[in-house]
Amino acid sequence: MAQDAGLSKLETIVMSAIVYAGSAQFSAIAILAQGGGAGAAIAAAALMNSRFLPMGVALAPSLRGGPLKRGLQGQAVVDASWALAARPDGSFDLRLLFGSSAAQYVTWVSGTAIGALWGGALGDPKELGLDALFPAFFVALLLNEARSGRARGVAALGALIALLLVPVAPAGVPVLVASFAALVGLTRRAREAVLESQEAEGEAR
């Protein structure tokens, strides 16, 4: 696909190695393939990646060290490892985050290399149903994550916002705007629930 857009095999592999954000790479390349310019391609990638902003905000309180160290640690965020490392109390399992991101990085770069060099020889990933793998994984994590009624309500609201925006907004924006569903947490009852769970945790120690 990248080569249809005019990228060389080497450029395709380098892109995976230094950008490491699959959906952003795909959207940038789709724009190039449609004849769009470099500016439009980069803008599409930025919009697609905008969901990493709220993910980074959520992760921030779990990170230690100076701003430079935290900024570098933030680079480990990709959808699957971020979701896997998220604990129901809002904190993050950093070892799980870095471990799963490192494993995915190796897979992603080597997968790109295989695709770029021998892509024609492989079957269509859609025929194997692989496009259902990530959403299924996220469903399983969501079931684990959304234990309270409030969390389930926010999940439903987030999905609704995203679906309403899909036909009208550029790719990436629906997921970003869906994060605003979490503002339900500003209500007094949601804050009291967090206080109670923190106090319960404090007593347990």
């Binding site: 190039l32 993910m55 496009d131 629906p174 869906a178 979490a182 804050r191 629930a193 967090v194």
Partner: protein, 101 residues
């Protein structure tokens, strides 16, 4: 620079900046209760939005297809058994089987 190299460098820079922003601006300190209360709910909101945009849409249009059924089957198994592994194995299998029909 060629268009390809410009796009790669540009994408690398904006991705780095977006991923660094939250941790640099907000990390390493205790945050107020209202903030924690929102952060706790970010995961369900974002996960549900990712599921919706990947399983119920195709590009910029709403699309119910074999992948929707596969994800639903996987979700059902995850809900009944709690097994993430069974879920991610079943979903592509159901999707591929429906497409092969």
């Amino acid at each position: 620079m060629s268009t390809g190299a410009t796009v790669i460098a540009g994408c690398a820079l904006v991705t780095f900046a977006i991923k660094a922003a939250g941790p640099v601006a907000l990390g390493g300190r205790e945050l107020p209760i209202w903030f924690t209360s929102v952060v706790v709910l970010l995961a369900p909101a974002l996960l549900a939005a990712l599921v919706a945009t990947q399983a119920l849409a195709d590009g910029d249009e709403i699309a119910i297809g074999a992948d929707t059924a596969g994800v639903a089957a996987g979700g059902l198994v995850a809900w009944r058994t709690g097994s993430i592994v069974a879920c991610v194995l079943l979903a592509p299998a159901v999707t591929a089987a429906l497409r092969a029909l």
